[in-house]
């Protein structure tokens, strides 16, 4: 038990050190990939809260991310930047002069996304399984279409450019850490048990006095909040957003991470988020021209997505429960596999 605490402290210290070193020494491109993985951790956890823990098959994540990204962008850009962006039609006056620091903007982005989540969730959470998936997918598309057509608020299809580069390494990894801690505390709490009960058996959960609809709605709202914050961070890392970013493909990428990592595993989502984000960049050469001795291609954009699709199929066929299943990392797990000396069994 004590030894496990020591390992945990050492582990956290090592991660902190790595982040500091990375921030100082990585070249900008590598650092960006590193930071993107933190954002994908936040997004994967928020989707896993729905798909893995609550058992709600939702495909609307891109919509909530879009809301978060736009809200924070509009709140942090200076009036001058807004004037530069809105050259087709001027921005509505009440948004023109607002400029907030990053933290309040980030929180407001999450809250607006959460409100949207609650409003959408109230009707659609009465649906189940694939019907719910279609309904959430539909709502995400509606959000995107609205964003494309509200020229004076979002600048429409032109998108927003020149977002302040607030999302530093410390910000994104700080938010990622906060998300992991939130999820761990939530899942271990009584409410977390209620969430898992709703996933396992709704009828039995109801009979145990759990308000199934309320549990689903809170989970959906919390997940939307995290998606909004994740979207906001994404905007500030890329510094450019437009409605086309937030299509179903983005939701698919996050879903891929959740399924690969394991539905209902926080550890799995974290590992898969980093793995997929890094692979996404490493495999970029596949999209470009290749010379494979026999076959010569002059660039097949999207080829790396084929690799991910194959990975997804392999997981679905050979390891349905993903990398971690629904288990979590613990030091005990390592000692059982003999990576660490065996101590006395105790809680981790």
């Amino acid at each position: 038990m004590k030894r496990n605490h020591l390992y945990t402290i050492l582990g956290v210290a090592a991660i902190l050190l790595f982040i500091v070193v990375a921030d100082k020494n990585f070249d900008p491109f590598v650092l960006r990939v590193f930071n993107l993985s933190a954002i994908y951790i936040v997004l994967a956890l928020s989707l896993n809260l729905l798909n893995g823990f609550t058992g709600l098959f939702s495909l609307g994540h891109a919509g909530f991310m879009a809301i978060g990204a736009y809200v924070t962008a509009l709140l942090t850009m200076t009036p001058a930047q807004k004037d530069m962006n809105f050259f087709l039609a001027p921005i509505v006056p009440w948004l023109h002069d607002i400029t907030l620091p990053f933290l309040p903007a980030l929180l407001i982005a999450g809250i607006v996304a959460a409100i949207a989540g609650a409003l959408i969730g109230a009707p659609v959470l009465r649906l189940r399984d694939d019907y719910l998936a279609i309904a959430t997918l539909g709502f995400a598309e509606i959000i995107r279409v609205v964003l494309t057509n509200t020229q004076t608020i979002t600048n429409g299809a032109l998108g927003l450019k020149g977002l302040p580069k607030y999302a530093t390494t410390y910000w994104v990894w700080g938010v990622a850490a906060a998300s992991v801690i939130f999820m761990v505390f939530l899942i271990r709490s009584s409410y977390g048990r209620a969430i898992k009960a709703v996933r396992d058996d709704e009828i039995a959960a109801e009979a145990m006095g759990i308000n199934v609809f309320r549990v689903k709605l809170s989970s959906f709202t919390a997940s939307s909040f995290m998606a909004g914050v994740g979207g906001a961070l994404l905007g500030h890392v890329l510094t450019t957003i437009d409605p086309k970013m937030f299509t179903f493909l983005l939701t698919f990428n996050i879903l891929l991470i959740v399924v690969l990592g394991g539905n209902g595993s926080i550890t799995g989502s974290v590992i898969a988020a980093i793995g997929v984000t890094v692979l996404m960049e490493l495999l970029r050469f596949l999209d470009g021209p290749m010379n494979l001795l026999v076959v010569k291609t002059d660039g097949l954009p999207g080829l790396r997505m084929v690799i991910f699709s194959i990975m997804l199929m392999a997981v679905v066929i050979y390891r349905q429960r993903g990398l971690m299943g629904n288990r979590e990392f613990s030091w005990q797990m390592l000692s059982f596999r003999r990576f660490l000396p065996r101590g006395k069994a105790g809680g981790a």
């Binding site: 939130f182 505390f185 939530l186 709490s189 009584s190 409410y191 977390g192 048990r193 209620a194 898992k196 009960a197 396992d200 058996d201 009828i203 039995a204 959960a205 109801e206 009979a207 145990m208 006095g209 759990i210 308000n211 199934v212 809170s218 989970s219 919390a222 629904n326």
Partner: protein
């Protein structure tokens, strides 16, 4: 304690339960028996709010619970078990019982996640209570095992423990002895009486085989094709020609 007033449940053209009127007094054990498909479980589902009756009202402690959702009915103090065991498969035995305490912990998402002191205190009390319940049903040794890895008879006991964790005033047991051999059934019936005395409960239980419950029920209701064909003490039921006909089939 519990009273139904001519409740009727129709599914399309089929009348599953017709004009069912039952009255259960405090601390009684009342049996609801009948052949397969007689509408016993449907009657349970109406009382626990899974179905809203087509007609008729249901009263618990003199207040109308007909239109309440299942979770509110559990909150009022009616807990149930299921005919086809519905334990939470991915949870341990202990977690199954602890989960059922959630209702009385009364913690919202934020209170629980932030581990506020009030929540921690109630969570600790719930853990102790859940542990006591496991000891009471003799499952403390299997507390950390997955619920579905238990043998059948113990799963039934766990379901009862889980129902007790919601701190009910009344317990509805749906065929608790299904799939048990005579000895196991007898043990279970003794256990039910013990639970009733210990937790000051009122019990309504469904059983398919009337012999099993004869010994412990104060009164019984017999359903057949949705109709209440008899009710009375076990001795009266045993000799009722209509009941014998329903069970054995008489030309």
């Amino acid at each position: 304690m519990l009273r139904t007033d001519n409740v009727t449940m129709r599914f399309g053209g089929l009348t599953a339960v017709d004009e069912f009127t039952v009255k259960v007094n405090k601390n009684e054990i009342v049996g609801l028996i009948g052949p397969n498909g007689a509408g016993k479980t449907t009657a349970f589902n109406m009382i626990t709010g899974v179905y809203t009756p087509t007609k008729g009202r249901i009263y618990f402690e003199e207040s109308d619970i007909t239109d309440l959702k299942p979770h509110s009915i559990t909150e009022r103090g009616i807990a149930r078990t299921f005919q086809n065991i519905r334990l939470f498969k991915e949870m341990t035995v202990f977690e199954n019982v602890l989960l059922a305490c959630h209702l009385r912990i009364r913690a919202g998402l934020f209170e629980a996640t932030l581990h506020l002191p009030g929540y921690l205190r109630r969570d600790k009390a719930a853990r102790e209570f859940a542990w006591n319940l496991l000891e009471a049903v003799g499952l403390e040794g299997a507390a950390q095992e997955l619920a579905t890895s238990l043998p059948y008879g113990k799963q039934r006991r766990l379901e009862i423990a889980r129902a007790l964790a919601t701190r009910p005033k009344m317990l509805l047991l749906d065929e608790p002895a299904a799939g048990m051999n005579p000895q196991e059934s007898r043990d279970l019936m003794e256990f039910i009486v013990k639970v009733r005395d210990e937790y000051d409960l009122t019990i309504l239980l469904i059983e398919h085989h009337m012999q099993v419950v004869m010994g412990i029920c104060t009164r019984m209701y017999v359903l057949d094709y949705g109709l209440t064909i008899a009710h009375g003490t076990p001795a009266q039921i045993r000799n009722d020609p209509k009941v014998i006909e329903a069970y054995l089939g008489v030309d």
